[in-house]
Structures are given as C-alpha cells and as structure tokens.
C-alpha cells in the first residue's frame, strides 16, 4: 500500500498511519516534522512544483519498497502557510518486524528533504520573510542511503 498526499489544509500527526496499522505487520514507524519557533518564526510557507511533487514522492516510496520488505508506506506533506507547532510532513512505514519500518522511515524523510520539490520560506512576527537555505547536514544524511 502506497499513499501520497499533498495537502493545503492542516494535517493530523497520525495522517495516513491508521491505514498502515491494518496491514497485519508487527511494526509501524513514523516521523512527523513540525514547524518550530526558530528565532521569531511565526509560520512557514511551502511552495512546490505541482506537476512533479506527487511523482517524486511516489518514487521515494518505490525506492524504499525495493530496499526493504515493507507492507506499506505513506507520505503526507503540507503546502501553503503552516503556523508554528503544526505538522509539515508525516512519513510512515509498516513491516513485519521493526527494523525495516524504522530504517525505511528514516530513508523516506532523509531523501524527501533533498529530492522532493518543496521550498520553505520563513515568515517572522514583524512581517518580514526569508527563503530557507538548504543544509549541508541534510545532504550528508541523504547520502547515507546512496
């Protein structure tokens, strides 16, 4: 089972995970990314490349499924304005045993951060805004899975 959702509306931190729990596996792992208050950030804005985004997320799940024995995986990603404290992304994977689900979840979020066509802009309380720079540490984490 593969589920990819791009959402303009608020997502729940358990988005899509209930479906993974029903697949008969013994392990379900997930990661939720939340907007943090980084030096006065009030909200972030997420832009994406609509005609490419879903296909790139499906490919990440296909890559994970080729690498680990998974029963299913989900990726739900917000776009638009997301306030501090709200989830931006939920990634989950289900497998018979925990190791596959845990590793696949890390793989999915690490690769999503360097490959999926999303861009973040930070909005500050004073009304200013700034595009977020990509981090070398994110590249390093993604390369672990090369």
């Amino acid at each position: 089972m593969k589920i990819v959702r791009i959402s303009n509306a608020a997502i729940q931190s358990d988005a899509g995970l209930a479906a993974l729990a029903d697949l008969g596996g013994g392990g379900l792992a997930s990661f939720t990314g939340i907007v943090r208050d980084d030096g006065g950030v009030a909200a972030i804005e997420l832009e994406h490349y609509p005609s490419m985004t879903e296909a790139s997320l499906h490919r990440l799940i296909d890559d994970a499924t080729a690498r680990w024995s998974l029963l299913g995986a989900v990726i739900t990603h917000r776009v638009g304005i997301v306030p501090v404290g709200a989830p931006v992304v939920v990634v989950g994977a289900a497998s018979l045993h925990r190791a596959e689900a845990l590793e696949a979840t890390a793989f999915l979020i690490d690769r999503l951060k360097t490959e999926a066509p999303f861009w973040k802009r930070e909005h500050y309380a004073d009304g200013s805004a700034k595009w977020v720079d990509a981090k070398a540490s994110d590249d390093a984490r993604a390369e672990r899975w090369a």
Binding site: G33, L46, E47, H48, Y49, S51, M52, A55, S56, H77, V88, V89, I109, L112, K113, T114, E115, A116, P117, F118, W119, K120, R121, W131, V132, D133, A134
Partner: protein
Amino acid sequence: MKLVYFASVREAIGLSSEECHVPQDACTVGDLVARISELSEDHARALHDLDRLRFALDQEMVTGDTLLGAAQELAIFPPVTGG
C-alpha cells in the same frame, strides 16, 4: 520550451513561467540556462551562480550537463528545502 521557476529564482525573475526559443547551439541544460540569463538583468541576477541552482527537465531532476533532447519543460530552482 516552457521555463518554470520556483522560490527565490521565481521571485528574482519576477515570473513563474515563460516560453523560450531554444537556440540550435544550446545542447545541454547548462547551455540553455546561460542563454536564459542573458534575457534581462533580473534573469542574470537570478541565474548567475549555477552551483546554487537545481534543474528538472520534464519533471525529472537533472544536472547542468544533461542533454535537452526533446524535452518540453525546464524548471530552474534553488536546492529543495521541504520536509
């Protein structure tokens, strides 16, 4: 070819997309981006630093040395920052 821009590149150029004629001597993505940067001062400012740009050809991530072939759409954007 259709050009699409995202994030800081879109803002610097002031457009989210435009059509462009591909010169016959532009064989690779990098060749074409160099030609696009000559369109205006805004294009030049947005596209001057190739190392800080990423590209997708027909919605597939590619590098500057990728051949344009028969592609219909070139996207130019900064490194992605989702998740």
